[in-house]
C-alpha cells in the first residue's frame, strides 16, 4: 500500500492520555491486520470491492484562512443552532459554543481536543469505544488511529435543548483524507438534536472520508440526529454510525445521501433497555456511476422495544445501490416490534438496485416484518397526470419528490427540510429536464 495513512499524524503527543494512546494504537493494528474487504465476505456482498481503493490519500495541511472563511460562510443549512462547528480537512474553521446558561446546567459542547483536556473521564468512558460490526472494522481502526476533528456533545440528566447542534465537515485539499467524529451522550431524560453535514469545497477535489458517529441515549432520553451527505462525486466515503439506546429512550436518525463516488454507510443500533423506540430513516439519490452501499443492524437485546427502519433509494443512470439490513432479536427480547422497509425506485434501465433485508429472531413473542420493493415510476399515475396536462418530465419529478417526501417530512424542521429539498432538486433538475 502506497498510502501514508498507516503513519498516524495525530497532534501534540505529549498530552495524549494512556487510554487514548492505547485505543489509537489498537486501531492502527486493526487497520493493518484486517485485510481489505473481499467479494466472499457477506458484509460486502454486491459491493464492487474490486474497485475500492484507499491508496494515495493523506491528511491535508491546514487550509488557507480565506478557504476556511469562505466555507464557514457556506455552512448555512440551519440559521439559529444551539452550537455550531465547521471543520475543513479536519482543521477547525469556526466553533460556536453553547450559552453560559446551558453550560451552567452542565451541558458540554467542545471540539475533541478541548474535551480531552477538560473532560478526560467523559472521553475515556465514551470516545472510540463503540464500533459497528458490519464489515468496516478495518476502516474504523484507521479512524481511531487518525481522528482529530469532531465535536463532543454531552447533555446531563433532564436537560432539554430545542434548537439543534450542527457540525459541518468539509473537504478541500487534493486527495485529502478526513476522519470526522461526532459523539453524542444524552443522559437520562435529556433531549437534544444534532445535524451532521458532509460537504466538498468544489466538484473536483478528491477525498477519502472515514467518519464515525457514536450516540448514547440514556434512560428516557430523546435524541434526534440528522445526517446530510452531499460530497462531490470524487469522494470515497465511509460513515460508521452506532447508537445505543437505554430504557425508554427515543432515538431518531434521518440520513440524506446525495453525494460521493462511492458511499458506504453502516448504521448500527443496539437497544439495551426495555421500552426503547428507535427510528432509522434514509433517502438516497444515486446518479451516474455512484455506488451507495448501506448496511444496517437493529439489535434488540431488551424486551418491549420498538425499532422502525425505512430506507428509500431513487436510482438514475448507471448508479448502484445496496441495502443490507438485519434485525436481530435476542433470546430474552420478548414483545419486540421491529420493522424494516427498503424501497427502490428505478428511473433508468441501467441502474442496479440490490436489496438484502434480513431477520434473525431468537425470541418467539415478537412482531417482526420486513419488506423490500423495487420498481419503476407507476405508469398509471404518470398517465393520469399527463392526461391532466402535466408534461411527462414534470410529472416524473413530482412523483420522485413525492417518493422522498415521506423521509423529508421526518426532518421536522421547515428550514432544514426546505434546504434538503433544494439539494435534491438541484441534483434532479438537469437529469429529469433533459
Amino acid at each position: 500500500m502506497t498510502t501514508t495513512l498507516e503513519t498516524p499524524t495525530t497532534t501534540s503527543s505529549a498530552s495524549v492520555p494512556t487510554w487514548l494512546a492505547e485505543r489509537r494504537s489498537a486501531g492502527l493494528e486493526q487497520f493493518k491486520n484486517v485485510p481489505m474487504p473481499s467479494a466472499r465476505d457477506e458484509h460486502w456482498r454486491f459491493a464492487s470491492v474490486g474497485r475500492l481503493s484507499i491508496d494515495g490519500y493523506n491528511p491535508s495541511a491546514a487550509p488557507a484562512d480565506d478557504v476556511l472563511q469562505a466555507l464557514d460562510a457556506r455552512s448555512d443549512l440551519v440559521s439559529e443552532p444551539t452550537g455550531r462547528s465547521v471543520y475543513v480537512d479536519d482543521t477547525p474553521a469556526s466553533f460556536k459554543g453553547i450559552s453560559d446558561e446551558l453550560a451552567e446546567k452542565g451541558v458540554i459542547y467542545l471540539p475533541i481536543a478541548d474535551a480531552l483536556v477538560q473532560h478526560p473521564e467523559l472521553m475515556e468512558k465514551y470516545f472510540l469505544k463503540e464500533s459497528t460490526e458490519l464489515g468496516s472494522q478495518k476502516f474504523f481502526g484507521l479512524h481511531a488511529s487518525s481522528v482529530k476533528a469532531g465535536s463532543i456533545l454531552y447533555v446531563p440528566k433532564g436537560v432539554t435543548i430545542e434548537a439543534p447542534f450542527i457540525n459541518y465537515y468539509w473537504t478541500s485539499g487534493a486527495r485529502s483524507a478526513v476522519f470526522p467524529h461526532t459523539l453524542v451522550v444524552a443522559e437520562d431524560n435529556a433531549q437534544v438534536s444534532v445535524v451532521d453535514v458532509f460537504f466538498s469545497e468544489t466538484a473536483e477535489n478528491e477525498a477519502l472520508n472515514v467518519a464515525v458517529a457514536n450516540i448514547h441515549a440514556g434512560a428516557g432520553a430523546n435524541v434526534f440526529r440528522k445526517v446530510v451527505q452531499d460530497w462531490n462525486e470524487k469522494t470515497v466515503s465511509f460513515q460508521l454510525d452506532t447508537t445505543v439506546a437505554e430504557r425508554d429512550a427515543q432515538v431518531k436518525n434521518v440520513a440524506v445521501n446525495i453525494g460521493a463516488e462511492r458511499a458506504r454507510y453502516e448504521a448500527q443500533t443496539r437497544i439495551e433497555g426495555a421500552g426503547a423506540h428507535v427510528k432509522m430513516y434514509s433517502l438516497t439519490v444515486a446518479e451516474e456511476n455512484q455506488e451507495f452501499d448501506q448496511r444496517t443492524y437493529q439489535i434488540h437485546n431488551a424486551p418491549n422495544a420498538v425499532s422502525d427502519l425505512l430506507y428509500k433509494n431513487a436510482l438514475l443512470d448507471s448508479s448502484r445501490t445496496i441495502f443490507s439490513g438485519l434485525i436481530k432479536v435476542a433470546e430474552d427480547a420478548q414483545q419486540t416490534d421491529a420493522y424494516q422497509t427498503n424501497r427502490n425506485l428505478l428511473l433508468d434501465p441501467s441502474a442496479d438496485a440490490n436489496s438484502m433485508p434480513g431477520l434473525e429472531i431468537l425470541a418467539n413473542d415478537v412482531k417482526c416484518s420486513h419488506g423490500a420493493t423495487t420498481g419503476n415510476v407507476d405508469e398509471d399515475e404518470l398517465f393520469y397526470m399527463m392526461s391532466r396536462g402535466i408534461p411527462k418530465r414534470a410529472a416524473m419529478q413530482l412523483m420522485v419528490f413525492g417518493f422522498f417526501e415521506e423521509i423529508i417530512e421526518q426532518v421536522a424542521s421547515d428550514e432544514l427540510a426546505g434546504n434538503l429539498r433544494a439539494l435534491i432538486h438541484k441534483k434532479f433538475e438537469t437529469k429529469l429536464n433533459d
Binding site: R40, D41, E42, R45, F46, E331, Q334, N344, L346, P349, S350, A351, D352, A353, N354, S355, M356, P357, G358, L359, E360, I361, L362, A363, N364, D365, V366, K367, C368, S369, H370, G371, A372, T373, T374, G375, N376, E379
Partner: protein, 474 residues
Amino acid sequence: MSDTNLKEQNEAIKVDTEKGNFTYPENYEFDAGVGLSEDTVKYISDVKKEPEWVREFRLKALDIFNKKPMPTNWATKDLENIHFDKIRYYLSKGQVPARSWDDVPDDVKETFERLGIPEQERKFLAGVEAQFDSEASYSHMKEDLEKEGVIFVGSSEGLEKYPEIFRPYFGKVIPSSDNKFSALNSATFSGGSFIYVPKGVKLKQPLQAYFRINAENFGQFERTLIIADEGSEITYMEGCTAPKFETTTLHSAVVELVALKNAKIQYITVQNWSSNVFNLVTKRGMADEGAEVKWIDCNIGSRLTMKYPGVVLKGKGARGEVLSIALANDGQHQDTGAKMMHLADNTTSNIISKSISIGKGRSTYRGQVHMPKHLKNCKNNTECDALLINTNSRTDTYPAITTRGENNTVQHEASVSKVSAEQIFYMMQRGLSEGEAMSLAVNGFVNELMKAFPMEYSVELKRLIDMEMEGSVG
C-alpha cells in the same frame, strides 16, 4: 372424491418415521469402501460400466469438489462436522433395475411395505421408481405411458441407453462447479431418475419415486434429470424417509429440470430424513419460452437441510414458482429458500415460504431474486412467513434481490409471528388439549399453501406436522 377412495388414499400414504427405524443386514455386493479419492470415483464408474465421457465428467467434478472451499462464509459452521473421509460413496446390490413387482427381492419389498409404499399405490401412480440405496431396485411404468414415448429410467440407464436425449442437458442446468456439493454429486452420483416427456404429452398422473438410505455412514447421491419437451406437462413426486443411525449420514442430490417451450414441470418433495442426516441438495429448473417450472418443497426431517430450489427463466414469458414449508424441531436446522434468475422479458416468479420452528429448532430462509440485465416487464413476488412455537425457537431470513431494467417490479415481504395465546385459549375452551390446539393453529398457518399441493401430499404433510407437534407444548 368418495369416502372409500379417501380412506384408501389415507391408508396408502401412511408414512410414519418410527417405521423407518429399522435396518437390514448389509450384504452389498459392490462396496467402494470408505472415503473419497480418485480411485473411489473410478471404481463407481467401472462398476457402472460407464462410457469414457461420464468417467471424465466424474473425475473433473472430483477435482472441483476438492478445490472448492466449504461455503461457511455464509452458511452454518455445522457443515464442518461432515467427515468426508468416513463416508461410503457407493453401494449397490448389483441389481439390474427390476421391471415387475415379482422381480423385486423380498426384503426390499418388506422395506417398502413398512415405509407405506404398498402395491395398491400403483392404482393412482403412473409409474413407481423406488430407490433402495443407490440403485433403482424397483421400476414400473404403465404401458400406456411407454406407448406415449415417456422415458422413466435410472440415471445410469438413462446415460447409457438414451445419451442423445439426456447428454445435451446433463450437468447443464447445474454445472459441477455450481457449488461444492453439486461437484460432490457429479463425482459420485448413482441412482435417481431420468425422465423424458415427448412433445405435447401431458401426464395426468404424477410420477413418483421414494428414496431411502439404508447403510450406516452411507451418503446418497442421486441424480435426477427431467426433460419436458415442447408443450408437455409432468408432475413428479419425491418422498424420503431414512432409518436412524448413530453417526451422521450425508445426502447430496442434484435435480435438474428442463422445461422446453410451453412445457410445464411440477416437482414435489416431502423430505423426512432422520435427524442425523445432512441433506445438502441442489435443485434447479430451466424454463424456456412460455414454460413453467414449479417446485413444491416440504422439509420436515434431517439434522441440517440446505436447499434452495431455483428457476432460470430463460425464455420470454417463462414462469417460476417455489412453494415451501419447513419445520425445524429440536436439533434441526432447515436452511431453505429459493432462487429466481430472470433472463428474459415478461418473466414472472413467485416464492412463498412458510417455516415453523419448534423447541430449539432453527429455520432459515435464503432467497435470491436476480434481474441483472436490461429486461422489461418482469415480476417477482416473495412472501416469507415464520412461526415460532417456543421461547427458544429461532428463525432467520436472508433474501438478496438485484433489480435492473424497465417496468420490472419486485416485492419481498416477510413476517415473524407466534401462535396467539387467545387462539389457544379459545380452542382449549372448546375442549381441545393444548397440544391439539397448537397443532390446529400450525396447520392453519400452512393451510393456504397446502391447498396448492396434490391431495395425497397435503394429507401426508398434515400427519407429519401433527407428529412433529407432539410434545412441543406443556
